[in-house]
């Protein structure tokens, strides 16, 4: 068992980054994730020699990530919604160049400069592309401080395994709240001699070259095929989700991250009133756990999807159930957080009173 501590989500994320043997962090402060850079500046360099650098902007930070990842280094950046928007061009380039890196978005209310309160309005941006071209990020959705830690380790592993950018999509509340957390032991910073890394021309061998520019369409299509093949493997092997009470469920609640945590409470309140509610919480938003929804849909009366946005993941839920059950939505926006009571009221409105 590792160390058990009482930590803030953002600090736990930073501590996990250090312990995962991260080589470099490039970032630019923004509420509600400024603790990350503060924590790393205080702790990281003196403990592991990790490079921690405040870039002059998010555009600069993501391109530093691109460069350092290209050198075969384990790298990460974090930001919040408006800052993540600025990073989209870079993420598209990194996905195309097939480089591993980890990015965390501590989602706040939008659109625009919005508010510093927690929200989940960046689901589409994270899961459906964000930048240009046909690419995906692996998207991990933590719902607790513990998962902030676990997904840093998992995120680096997936990034390395698939040579792909990985996104941790959390929100301001998970970043700011404190919970009991078990930390994994300090890992060595490994120097890996990747065959693709630009670490200097090896004697007698070809020059290594990283780019996302391929003027010949034949070559660019080939690259697209490589990427799509990779995403297919992810969809077959990397799906992760949490399921509760599926055995006796007549209804489902579903959501990700903080909204899912609140749904679990609403589900408990509902079960105490005799409603047979189950729960599916996707932990990977890409690849999305389509199969489990499809499997459950024919035998339930309906799904209430709850998100802190206007309804984004619900599109994937609907695609998954293929019309075999009713899917209704309840959400709050702009930094407002739904309460368990509100969720249960909406569940009753759709499925108990109105049915």
């Amino acid at each position: 068992m590792g160390d058990v501590k009482f930590m803030k989500g953002n600090e736990a994320l930073s501590e996990a980054m250090i312990r995962a043997g991260c080589d470099a962090y490039f970032g630019y402060p923004i509420t509600p994730q400024s603790e990350v850079l503060e924590y790393l500046a205080r702790e990281a360099t003196k403990r592991t020699g990790m490079v921690v650098l405040q870039a002059e902007s998010e555009v600069s930070a993501i391109n530093m990530i691109y460069g350092a990842a290209g050198c075969g280094k384990r790298v990460m950046t974090t930001s919040s919604s408006p800052g993540i928007s600025l990073m989209q061009e870079g993420l598209s380039y990194i996905a195309s160049a097939e480089l591993p890196c980890l990015v965390a978005n501590i989602n706040r209310g939008g659109p625009g400069l919005g508010t510093i309160q927690p929200a989940q309005g960046d689901y589409f941006q994270s899961v459906k592309g964000g930048g240009h071209g046909d690419y995906h990020l692996v998207v991990l959705a933590p719902c607790s401080v513990q998962e902030m830690v676990d997904y840093v380790k998992l995120g680096f592993e997936l990034a390395d395994k698939y040579r792909t950018p990985v996104m941790i999509l959390a929100d301001g509340a998970i970043g700011q709240m404190m919970e009991k957390v078990e930390l994994f032991p300090q890992m060595e910073r490994v120097v890996t001699d990747y065959p693709w890394a630009t670490t200097g021309r090896p004697a007698g061998k070809d020059r290594r070259y990283i780019t996302s520019l391929h003027i010949q369409p034949e070559k660019m299509e080939e690259i697209n095929h490589t990427l799509q093949a990779k995403y297919k493997v992810m969809q077959e092997t990397e799906v992760r989700y949490q399921a509760l009470h599926l055995d006796d469920a007549e209804y489902l609640m579903t959501g990700f991250g903080l909204a899912a945590r609140i749904c679990i409470k609403a589900m408990e309140l509902g079960r105490a009133k005799g409603y047979k509610i189950g729960m599916i919480r996707p932990q990977t938003l890409f690849p999305f756990p389509t199969k489990i929804y499809a499997e459950v849909a024919p035998r339930i009366k309906g799904i209430l999807d709850v998100e802190m946005n206007a309804g984004q993941m619900i599109e994937d839920v609907r695609l998954s159930v293929e019309g075999k059950t009713r899917v209704e939505f309840f959400g709050r926006m702009g930094g407002m957080i739904p309460s368990p009571d509100e969720i249960l009221e909406n569940f009753e409105k759709y499925f108990i009173k109105g049915s």
Binding site: F6, Q176, M177, M178, E179, K180, G335, S339, P340, E342
Partner: protein
């Protein structure tokens, strides 16, 4: 055991610290804990609050709308949270600093003159610790010794000389609600 509490008061009264200390103490006693601060506009002036949940089993939602206990250090907090206490729950308030005290008859109301007691201790800053003493005496969420251990963890060593004063404050608070 499950205790869902809200701590609320003016910024600077130490409401976030009360909840946080409870969290640290909960972890020491190997309980599950969640602490959710207000970090938004409130933190930038005005009334601040935090939700602290301590439980023997896994905690579902860190965000809740009704509470087992409300610890209110100012008038706006009483007005905001009195009616969010569950039936049979507790409200603690600073009776030396309140014009309109809570009035509900279906909850336990603890009038704690914490400002006065803090002044008697010649340190107005420990009013939150007095209130925390009253809170743990009633709810029995964590032991006093654990709170003191938590203080040792949280305070930098140069402030450890203040631990006896905090201990005294907690004990006074416990005495205020002991019948």
């Amino acid at each position: 055991m499950l205790q869902e509490a809200i701590f609320s008061g003016f910024g600077g009264q130490g409401v976030l610290t009360m909840g946080m200390l409870l969290g640290y103490a909960g972890v020491i006693e190997d309980k599950e804990v969640t602490w959710m601060p207000s970090y938004g506009p409130e933190m930038r002036g005005g009334t601040a609050n935090c939700i602290a949940i301590v439980s023997d089993s896994l905690i579902s939602s860190p965000i809740i709308s009704t509470f087992d206990s409300a610890v209110t250090l100012n008038q706006p907090s009483i007005e905001k949270f009195e009616y969010k206490v569950k039936v049979g729950g507790n409200i603690f308030y600073d009776s030396s600093n309140t014009i309109n005290p809570p009035t509900r008859e279906d909850i336990n109301i603890y009038a704690c003159p914490v400002s006065e007691e803090a002044i008697k201790l010649r340190n107005s800053k420990v009013l939150n610790m007095i209130m925390l003493g009253a809170f743990i005496e009633v709810t029995k969420v964590v032991k006093m010794e654990t709170l003191l251990k938590a203080l040792e963890q949280v305070l930098p060593e140069r402030y450890h000389k203040l631990i006896p004063l905090n201990k005294q404050a907690i004990e006074i608070g416990m005495g205020l609600v002991r019948k």
